[in-house]
């Protein structure tokens, strides 16, 4: 079972990320994917997230508790959700929008300039698809075929091709990155950039889990 949180700011297509991935695993990868999202009165701009539990068996507890994967597309969202990330988890982030700090030793860091890539392709709104492609390559929790099959109905018809291209861009970048890593140990963050490690924020004993 895997717990994943996609996060960013409202308007980046963060909920869509959860929907696409959830649909992909549930309908095309023969797994169970339960997607929930944080609802607040704010519609745009503030930190937002969608959560996904992927499992080979029926998901009983629908919410994530200690996600092992955090996808961050904004600094705000990163700071808000990073303390929940499991100690041995993986952070996947937009290198232009998120500066990871503090760096936790056991966490694996994978960055992609997803928004920049999307801008280069013509529109930053495809940033989430670049990120999903990258996420798919890095985590291998879902097949790229399933992800592409999940797109119709969740992205506008006339932009389907562009979304697929954005996905491929991120996916290829991820595969390349992994190949490079095989050659040398991961050093995504330079040691001198490493700020002092602080303890994760204390949580209220009974947190609202959404």
């Amino acid at each position: 079972m895997s717990e994943i949180r996609f996060s960013g700011y409202g308007g980046q297509g963060i909920i869509r990320c959860g929907l696409i991935t959830g649909k992909a695993v549930s309908l095309f990868d023969n797994k169970f994917g339960t997607m929930t999202q944080s609802f607040g009165p704010e519609a745009r701009g503030s930190a937002c997230s969608s959560q996904l539990v992927i499992s080979d068996e029926r998901v009983l507890y629908p919410y994530i508790t200690r996600p092992e994967i955090l996808v961050s597309m904004s600094q705000d969202a990163y700071e808000k959700y990073e303390p929940d990330l499991r100690g041995d988890g993986t952070l996947i982030y937009d290198t232009d929008l998120v500066k990871p700090k503090p760096v936790r030793d056991e966490i694996k860091y994978f960055g992609v300039p997803s928004t920049r890539f999307a801008e280069e392709m013509g529109n930053r709104i495809f940033g989430n698809l670049v990120m999903l492609g990258f996420f798919t390559a890095i985590t291998k929790l879902v097949s790229p075929e399933a992800m592409k099959k999940a797109l119709p109905g969740l992205v506008p018809k006339r932009f389907l091709e562009l979304n697929i291209r954005a996905f491929d861009k991120g996916y290829d970048y991820g595969i390349e990155l992994l190949a490079k890593e095989k050659e040398k140990p991961p050093a995504m963050i330079k040691p001198d950039e490493k700020p002092p490690v602080s303890k994760p924020k204390k949580r209220a004993p009974r947190k609202a889990k959404s």
């Binding site: 929907l19 994917g33 609802f39 009983l60 629908p62 919410y63 609202a208």
Partner: protein, 388 residues
């Protein structure tokens, strides 16, 4: 009772990734609902949005009314106009509907209301979950009456149970509630919508006899009267007042006794046909976890852990919460050490279990006020306490 296949026009056959709210709308369309009157309220609004998006291609009415009072009343009117009807709401809207839920009960009008529950009282927690309208569903309107309430634990069940709700509403001429909650309503999962010819629909109990002999409130053998619709020449009358078989108001104790008993009996005496429970490993159980909706799903994890620890624990998942499975609880109470009842309120259904257990087995509630679903550990703790 006439069973037919679903009208394929409304059935979106296939595998979908839907949230519970959307699945309720699809369930309604599959069941043949062609009239939806509603008012936006979090966390139920998505059902109305989905219905309004889909109905133009199916043929029917979506109307956003001026409030929930208007919504439920329009449903009653539309049901008498011959349509299958539904609405969706949450706590505050459900409160506003209560008076006319009573009217629907009194006029014996088939209709379906989905309540995507949130934390209350008052505005409470619009975007966070709760199960605190369970008693209101049963007792919210004034007077003595019975209704039917179902409680889905997933988007798939939102679809399935909405169809079931329509079938029950039509069979018993009664309002049926789909009592889901924000968690299930907003949770996306795979929903399989079968082909139309695999969906069984129960048609309204239409009257077939001679026009001048029609009595809108004369109970049939199964206690449920036959129905007609406006415009077919029956020139019938119906009222929210205490009435006789003709539907004419008669305001005295004798007719009141007949009228109210009839409303109550048609559900109570048919309870065995209505109640659906899912039981697991209940035969040798020392403890039985009784739960419904999202809580019943979360509780499974606690039950698995308890069984690993060697505790004989059974589960009773109530798909039908009202009418309440009194007999079954009574039966179990004599055989087990305790009931554990987790629910997202301060013990509404737990109290009902306690009543039926009649002092033969203690009831340990695992309760909280809403805003989150249970931590399975809390339920596990209660199970352990129960066998101690």
């Amino acid at each position: 009772m006439r069973k037919v296949k679903a009208d394929p026009k409304g059935v979106l056959t296939g595998a979908h990734y839907l949230d519970g709210d959307f699945a309720i709308a699809e369930g309604g369309l599959a069941a043949g609902c062609r009239f939806f009157a509603g008012y936006p309220i979090t966390p139920s609004t998505e059902t109305a949005e989905r219905f309004s998006e889909r109905i133009p291609f199916v043929g029917g009415i979506f109307i956003q009314m001026e409030d929930e009072i208007a919504s439920i009343t329009a449903l009653i009117g539309a049901s008498w106009g011959g349509q299958k009807v539904m609405t969706v709401t949450s706590g505050p809207g459900f409160s506003l509907m209560q008076e006319n839920i009573g009217l629907a009960v009194m006029m014996e009008t088939p209709l379906v209301i989905a309540n995507v529950q949130r934390g209350g009282p008052s505005t409470g927690l619009p975007t966070l979950t709760g199960q605190s309208d369970m008693m209101q569903a049963k007792f919210g309107s004034h007077g003595d009456y019975e209704i039917i309430a179902l409680s889905p634990d997933s988007p798939q069940e939102c679809f399935d149970l909405t169809i079931k709700a329509f079938n029950l509403a039509e069979t018993f001429r009664v309002p049926v509630f789909v009592m889901t909650d924000e968690c299930v309503g907003h949770m996306h999962e795979k929903v399989i919508i079968p082909p139309a010819d695999e969906i069984e629909i129960i048609e309204r109990k239409w009257y077939q006899g001679p026009k001048d002999k029609y009595l809108p409130y004369k109970p049939d053998k199964d206690l449920v009267p036959f129905m007609v619709k406006a415009g077919d020449g029956y020139r019938f009358h119906t009222t929210g007042l205490t009435h006789d078989e003709r539907g004419y108001p008669v305001l005295n104790a004798e007719v009141q006794d007949w009228c109210v008993h009839h409303l109550v009996d048609k559900i109570r005496k048919n309870a065995h046909k209505i109640i659906e429970l899912q039981e697991d490993q209940i035969d040798n159980a020392e403890v039985v976890v009784v739960s419904y909706g999202i809580t019943s799903r979360v509780a499974i994890r606690a039950v698995q852990l308890a069984r690993k620890a060697g505790i004989k624990v059974g589960t009773m998942r109530m798909i039908t919460v009202w009418p309440f499975p009194e007999k079954r609880i009574k039966e179990l109470a004599g055989k087990i050490k305790a009931f554990v009842v987790p629910e997202i309120n301060l013990g509404q259904i737990g109290r009902e279990v306690e009543r039926c257990a009649f002092g033969q087995a203690p009831v340990i509630g695992v309760t909280h006020c809403g805003g989150w679903v249970h931590d399975p550990e809390d339920i596990l703790k209660a199970i352990k306490e129960a066998v101690r």
